[in-house]
């Protein structure tokens, strides 16, 4: 009886294991199918997002060109109005009609030439726009979302922190920022698109608690320094785990209203940001004007990492301005 019971239990046990294995296999297959479906949907979403970003970028570029053309048109219109007024005044002067008529004729001719020239220019622009291939206007740059993920702190850099005799366009602003970053030891940076401007992202660096950068090579290492030199230091690190502070700075150059959302940019995303963007400012961006309404805002993402605990975003400690000062960027801008 006992033997039969043991045999039955053994068969049941083996059967259970067999079922579990079969069931696990089935679940894995379902999971794989679902994952591939998710990946497909995600790819399609990314593609649509990219197309949307490209379209926004083209729209921005066209809007800026349009504004430029509008300014030209306004100035031409003013000139035409001025000439019209001049002609009218000549026509009104009856006494001096014969003397002034030659001048009036000349002005009318000028006016006609101007109108024809404007008309030609308009036609040419229309033709250019129609014949420009999509690839030429397409600017391949990823987007930095606004509202942006909640930063640790931020600082709007006042214009007086910059040298006052610089040209006000994107390439100059970029070179001033890039030179300042280079002076402070930031070798890698990355560019993203934001509406009416761009975002410059620095690489993830390790800093001290007060915001000063660590010395190389520890500064660019993503590992915490254990300092395990002897048994005593080992015992110390067993009870007091090593901690570290990491920072990414995002410079936003734009004239749009800036605000943060509640999403948190995790440390891995921040680390990957410098590898994800463009290595230089796209050529079509360089001559765009940095207008009076444009601002330069630095977003600071600071993470505290304790061995064994997931990285956490530090909240406004130290404040944004102090971060830029301690990093040496404020001084380097001058």
């Amino acid at each position: 009886m006992k033997i039969i019971l043991i045999v039955i239990l053994s068969i049941a046990l083996v059967g259970t294991w067999g079922y579990l294995l079969w069931n696990k296999n089935q679940l894995e297959q379902i999971q794989q199918t679902q994952q591939s479906q998710i990946a497909k949907v995600s790819d399609a979403k990314t593609e649509i997002q990219k197309n949307f970003d490209d379209a926004l970028l083209r729209l921005d570029s066209l809007t800026m060109n349009n504004n430029k053309l509008l300014a030209q048109l306004t100035s031409a219109n003013l000139e035409v109005t001025k000439k019209k007024a001049e002609i009218r005044s000549i026509l009104n002067k009856k006494s001096a009609f014969s003397d002034e008529s030659t001048k009036a004729k000349k002005l009318i001719n000028d006016l006609n030439t101007k109108i024809v020239s404007l008309n030609n220019e308009n036609e040419k622009l229309k033709q250019d726009l129609a014949t420009t291939p999509a690839s030429k206007t397409e600017i391949n740059i990823k987007k930095f979302d606004i509202p942006y993920p909640k930063p640790s702190s931020f600082y709007q850099i006042p214009w007086n922190k910059f040298s006052q005799n610089i040209e006000r366009n994107f390439i100059t602003i970029d070179s001033v920022l890039s030179d300042a970053l280079l002076k402070c030891g930031y070798l890698e940076k990355s560019y993203y698109y934001v509406a009416h401007g761009f975002a410059l992202v620095t690489q993830l660096e390790q800093i001290n608690e007060d915001g000063t950068s660590k010395q190389n090579p520890e500064r660019w290492s993503t590992r915490l320094n254990n300092n395990l030199n002897d048994f005593r230091s080992y015992l110390k690190s067993l009870v007091h785990p090593p901690k570290g502070y990491f920072r990414v700075i995002v410079f936003l150059v734009t004239d749009v209203d800036l605000n943060a959302k509640n999403d948190v940019l995790d440390e891995k995303q921040a680390k990957d940001m410098v590898l994800g963007g463009n290595v230089a400012l796209p050529a079509s961006y360089r001559n765009l004007p940095f207008t009076n309404s444009h601002r330069i805002t630095a977003l600071i993402y600071e993470y505290k990492i304790t061995q064994g605990i997931a990285p956490e975003l530090v909240d406004n400690e130290p404040p944004g301005e102090l971060h830029l000062e301690k990093a040496g960027i404020i001084n380097a801008l001058k």
Partner: protein
């Protein structure tokens, strides 16, 4: 055949388990307390208790039962080889848990959570735990 009194063998095993578990528990608390948050500490502590409590309760339960029937159990003898194999496996198992905890400051980098690191040891510890529990089961039921 070389034999040993079963009651004293059980007592020796109990002493090894109690002292080792106490040592492991102390270093685990010292190591895990600053490396966990309030939310993750219970998961981390549960990981340790999953590996210590089955063996410990089995040995304590069997020893309490033996203590109640001490006069009879003192007559019972067991082959020394069974005791030595069981003791050896228990020591290896408890040492592995201790090593896993003591390696944390050396191995763990800033990007891995403590519980993830500890779970990486699950395969080897589960295998050792199964072997130790099976050997303890044989040891407690076997007698000459």
């Amino acid at each position: 055949m070389n034999t040993i009194e079963k009651y004293s063998a059980q007592r020796n095993l109990l002493i090894v388990w109690l002292l080792s578990s106490l040592f492991v528990l102390i270093i685990f608390m010292l190591m895990a307390w600053p490396r966990t948050t309030n939310a993750t500490f219970s998961d981390t502590a549960q990981w340790l208790f999953n590996y210590l409590s089955p063996g410990l309760t089995l040995i304590i339960g069997a020893f309490v039962y033996s203590a109640r029937t001490a006069n009879i159990d003192k007559i019972k003898q067991i082959d020394k080889i069974y005791f030595r194999i069981t003791l050896c496996f228990c020591v290896v198992y408890l040492t592995t848990i201790a090593i896993c905890i003591l390696l944390v400051p050396i191995i763990l980098d800033g990007n891995t959570e403590l519980i993830i690191y500890l779970k990486n040891w699950n395969v080897i510890l589960s295998f050792l735990q199964t072997s130790v529990i099976a050997l303890l089961g044989i040891f407690f039921t076997k007698e000459n």
